[in-house]
């Protein structure tokens, strides 16, 4: 840090940067956390599973454009400065999130609804692509060289805390309004709330100074004239961009999104856990694991970044399948004995006449409580035919509530997965900052980060769900995607990455 430049207290710098980044992650993740409900709102009622996959595709589109945001705003950040660039990204993110909350449903405007949401989702992705690199660079350029991992790890907590905040606000809103109202219009509240959070964050960020290293470069007239060209046309720099992507950020991305997003999607959609249970499990797991971002960030200042990150990938490769097998086994209520049932309360039977037919569909729903504290809804949808009699449908078990010991066991398994996230993600901002010089840092570090984290990671729920839907696939087949990508990154990182830290980043 230069002595001639205005100094911000480092904790104010971290606070202002982290708050804005946290809000951006919050904005970005509420969409994923509400994928099932949004799918019902944006697509025809009879779209079935394809509504979820299409909604996940829109969710994924936000991730796909993140690298383009990294290029656009990274370039701006290297040209006009870090501060004003990530103020702009914050406004774009907050505005687009707010407008998603206002989009009418498919029933009102047809396919214009998913198209408008897709456009706003793309703006969200572009904004996030510009935000993270700026915040990480801004903090790293204020931090003393021997504590860069520690200080940037606070920025690293923001993605997980943004997810935590989004889940928390969703659960609170749903519990206050009730499931039906929440599904009808209440889901819009978490989106609309974003505008308040963004205004607060903009106010705080307006008071911050420009990064001292960037100000020094600017004062000396050494800022890059064409950061994109210098980042990617310079072989020495471009080869490091590729190494950062394939040896670190690609594996980090899939570990991040498997441990937090795919885990929640798997518990809710594959294991058919109750809405609240699946989110409470994740909330507890995040609450227990989040401090470890700082622990691993600080530790990386002492032992280097490489092996901490690669160990997280290795543990994910080894343990994902056993963990998800436990999720499946412990939520399998198809083989319960009659003696285990405490009560079975049937709901009123409903019957709906099928279109263009004299047959009707009869839905028999029973709320079952077990002696161990678990409960679930058992649903039979039977076809009642005037000519063929009653054709019994397959039993569907959903809205499962876990017994307390299993609930905490699941919290432990999610905690372990998020611990792996903290290992791969805690040190990575410092690792990337140290890889590139100041004048093209924003551009150079943002691209591999957003391809690795945004594209490889962000596509985990979409691709894993898609793989699991193939004929002959098992519920665990989707895990081969994150395991394969992490394994590739582990091999490349082990062989090609160096564990040495570049302590001098003010060049």
């Amino acid at each position: 840090m230069s002595d001639n430049l205005p100094k911000n207290n480092i904790f104010k710098v971290i606070g202002a940067s982290s708050l804005g980044t946290l809000i951006e992650w919050y904005d970005f993740y509420i969409f994923g956390s509400l994928a099932v409900i949004i799918g019902h709102q944006l697509f025809p009622e009879d779209a079935g599973a394809s509504a979820l996959i299409n909604t996940l595709a829109i969710f994924a589109a936000g991730f796909i454009v993140r690298p383009f945001g990294a290029l656009v705003f990274g370039r701006l950040g290297d040209l006009i400065g870090r501060k004003y660039t990530f103020l702009l990204t914050l406004v774009l993110m907050g505005g687009s999130t707010f407008f998603i909350g206002l989009i009418p449903s498919y029933k009102s405007i047809g396919y214009a609804a998913p198209i408008l949401v897709l456009i706003l989702r793309l703006i969200q992705g572009l904004a996030l692509g510009g935000e993270y690199g700026g915040a990480a660079t801004y903090v790293a350029e204020h931090a003393p060289k021997n504590k860069r991992g520690f200080f940037t790890s606070w920025i690293q907590t923001t993605a997980t805390l943004g997810l935590f905040l989004s889940l928390g606000i969703i659960v609170i809103t749903k519990n206050i309004l009730g499931a039906e109202t929440f599904g009808d219009w209440g889901w819009r509240i978490p989106f609309l709330l974003s505008i308040v959070l963004v205004v607060v964050s903009i106010y705080i960020r307006m008071k911050m100074h420009e990064s001292p290293l960037f100000s020094k470069l600017k004062a000396e007239g050494n800022i890059s004239k064409n950061p994109l060209k210098e980042s990617f046309n310079n072989k020495a720099n471009f080869k490091m961009v590729l190494l950062a992507l394939f040896g670190a950020t690609m594996g980090q991305g899939v570990i991040w999104y498997t441990g937090q997003f795919y885990a929640q999607s798997f518990l809710e959609n594959t294991c058919k856990l109750d809405f609240n249970d699946s989110r409470y499990i994740l909330l507890w797991g995040i609450a227990f694991a989040t401090p470890f971002f700082v622990v691993f960030g600080a530790w990386s200042d002492k032992v280097g970044r490489k092996w901490i990150m690669l160990s997280g990938m290795l543990l994910g490769i080894l343990f994902y399948r056993p963990i998800y097998q436990i999720f499946l086994d412990d939520t399998d209520y198809t083989k319960i004995e009659q003696a285990d049932i405490l009560s079975a309360t049937p709901a009123p039977v409903t019957a709906v006449l099928m279109q263009n037919s004299t047959d009707s569909l009869r839905t028999v729903s029973t709320q079952v409580r077990l002696k161990n504290g678990a409960s679930f809804n058992s649903i039979h949808v039977d076809t009642v035919s005037a000519t063929k009699g009653t054709l019994l449908g397959k039993e569907i078990i959903k809205d499962k509530v876990l017994p307390t010991p299993v609930f905490w066991k699941f919290v432990g398994l999610i905690f372990f997965q998020i611990l792996l996230v903290t290992m791969v993600y805690g040190p990575i901002a410092a690792f990337l900052v140290e890889l590139f010089p100041t004048k093209i840092r924003y551009t150079s570090m943002s691209l591999p980060y957003h391809i690795g984290n945004g594209v490889f990671g962000g596509l985990v729920p979409f691709i894993a769900t898609l793989i699991a839907s193939f004929s002959g696939a098992t519920p665990l087949s989707g895990l081969w995607y994150p395991i394969g990508v992490a394994a590739l990154s582990l091999v490349i990182g082990t062989i090609y990455l160096s564990n040495k830290r570049d302590e001098k980043i003010n060049d």
Binding site: I53, A236, L242, F462
Partner: protein, 83 residues
């Protein structure tokens, strides 16, 4: 280690096009298995997204392999000044 880095470069160069070929075959296979028009449109869209994203990444892996084969990663810069 440098020899390993160099020869693995050949593997990465081959892995890029192999991945794309595999994805392309999967896309054709899965689109062919669809039964209705809506299902087909959805499947084409999903696989188009996957191919669109992974094509440049596979190209990047090939370039990475090429650099590794040429020995560009034998010495990594230890300070930003070397970049």
């Amino acid at each position: 280690m440098n020899t390993l880095k160099k020869f693995l470069g050949l593997f990465w160069m081959v892995l890029g096009p192999l991945t794309m070929t595999f994805l392309f075959i999967q896309a054709i296979d899965k689109v062919g298995l669809t039964h209705t028009d809506i299902e087909r449109t959805n499947t084409i869209l999903q696989w188009a997204i996957i191919l669109f994203i992974f094509f440049p990444i596979s190209l990047g892996l090939m370039i990475f392999g090429f650099y590794a084969w040429k020995g560009e990663y034998e010495h990594l810069p230890e300070s930003s000044e070397e970049l």
